[in-house]
């Protein structure tokens, strides 16, 4: 096995990186692939709670890089999917505890053991960002259809090009088709026009995301919700499948016919 390393970045905070990392990992693992997620957000660990694995942490990323445990010991196994693992971020230590070369070394070791490595990065463009992209084969840039998130995504895309980590692919999260329709939200076409990179996913605004996070049960575990389906589609595109983008508009029309909106 030689894993592919996929890192999710954004520039602006809170656009949905951790949610998406968890769900892409779950979606890949539910297709029978062996997946390890790495929480690169040192000091602000969150991938564990989104995945519902917070009670099982013994060792973390810094324990591995500083040699206090073996890699295997820090890989928490998900009970729902046999081949899904998490390496949690350290919670209290300083952010310089991990370096880009530590991440490259860690991923080189992991690569032999799994099919996919999904890395969640912190917001911003500092050390944590550099760590998270150091070993990446593919970088996914996440944005929301609003001004500051798109602007920050553009900065990050430029940095990725400069670091020769491009071309990145874009995920647009929290799209509200009704707002787009009435002209109060940037459309998918607008965002692609502005950022001029390849699109790999569109995730609608969906309250099921919050419900799922409350329970620690990522949506992609069952793809019945729109967002859950969107996460599964991203996973399939990563695997090389051609998956058409969901027609969010017509679903919205359907909702309105039902009088829900």
């Amino acid at each position: 096995m030689v894993a592919k390393v996929v890192t999710i970045v954004s520039g602006k905070g809170g656009v949905g990186k951790t949610t998406t990392a968890a769900n892409i990992a779950v979606a890949l693992a539910s297709r029978g692939l062996k997946v390890t997620c790495v929480d690169g957000d040192i000091g602000l660990r969150n991938l564990d709670v989104v995945l519902g694995l917070e009670n099982r942490i013994v060792y973390d990323l810094v324990d591995v890089t500083e040699g206090r445990c073996r890699l295997r010991q820090a890989m928490i196994r998900d009970k729902r999917l046999p081949e899904l693992y998490l390496i949690p971020a350290a919670q209290t230590r300083d952010k310089t505890a991990v370096s880009p070369s530590d991440m490259v070394r860690l991923c080189d070791e992991l690569r032999q053991e799994v099919d996919w490595i999904i890395i969640d990065s912190p917001a911003g463009i500092e050390r944590g960002f550099k760590n998270a992209i150091a070993a990446a084969d593919r970088v996914l840039v996440m944005t929301n259809p609003e001004v500051s998130a798109v602007r920050d995504a553009d900065r990050v895309i430029g940095l990725l090009d400069a670091e020769e980590k491009g071309p990145a692919a874009l995920i647009i999260n929290r799209l509200d088709p009704a707002m787009v329709k009435r002209g109060d939200m940037l459309s998918v076409a607008d965002v692609i026009d502005l950022l001029a990179i390849e699109l790999i996913g569109i995730i609608p605004e969906d309250e099921n995301v919050i419900v799922a996070t409350n329970k620690g049960q990522p949506l992609a575990l069952d793809g019945k919700s729109k967002a859950g389906l969107a996460f599964q589609n991203i996973a399939r595109r990563l695997m090389g499948e051609q998956v058409p983008f969901m027609d969010l508009d017509s679903q919205n029309l359907f909702q309105r016919l039902l009088g829900r909106k």
Binding site: E146, V147, V150, R151, D154, R155, I157, G158, D161, V180, R182, G183, D184, M185, L186, S187, D190, D193, L194, L195, A196, I197
Partner: protein, 91 residues
């Protein structure tokens, strides 16, 4: 009233504002710096050839993720030697 004349859509404002902001972010060139570059360009070119300073335009054109500085510098007619002529410089 507003709906009769069509309310200006906020998404359009967002897109237009972003277009300008991204050019600045990507090139490190502010609108003010672009104006001063234009003045320098006019001065330099005027030393060699007769141009109409008022007609000069300069802008950053987008091609995917790359930018090009495009200047349009109409030349003044040189009387009877040649007719009216327009020169374009892109770089």
């Amino acid at each position: 009233m507003a709906f009769l004349f069509g309310r200006r859509k906020s998404a359009n404002s967002a897109k237009e504002r972003l277009q300008l902001v991204l050019i600045h972010d990507r090139t490190d060139l502010s609108p003010v710096e672009l104006e001063s570059l234009k003045d320098d360009l006019i001065q330099t070119i005027s030393r060699h050839i007769d141009i109409d300073p008022m007609a000069v335009t300069i802008r950053v054109a987008q091609d995917g993720r790359s930018q090009r500085l495009v200047a349009d510098i109409p030349l003044r007619s040189v009387g009877r030697r040649r007719g009216h002529e327009t020169g374009r410089a892109a770089g």
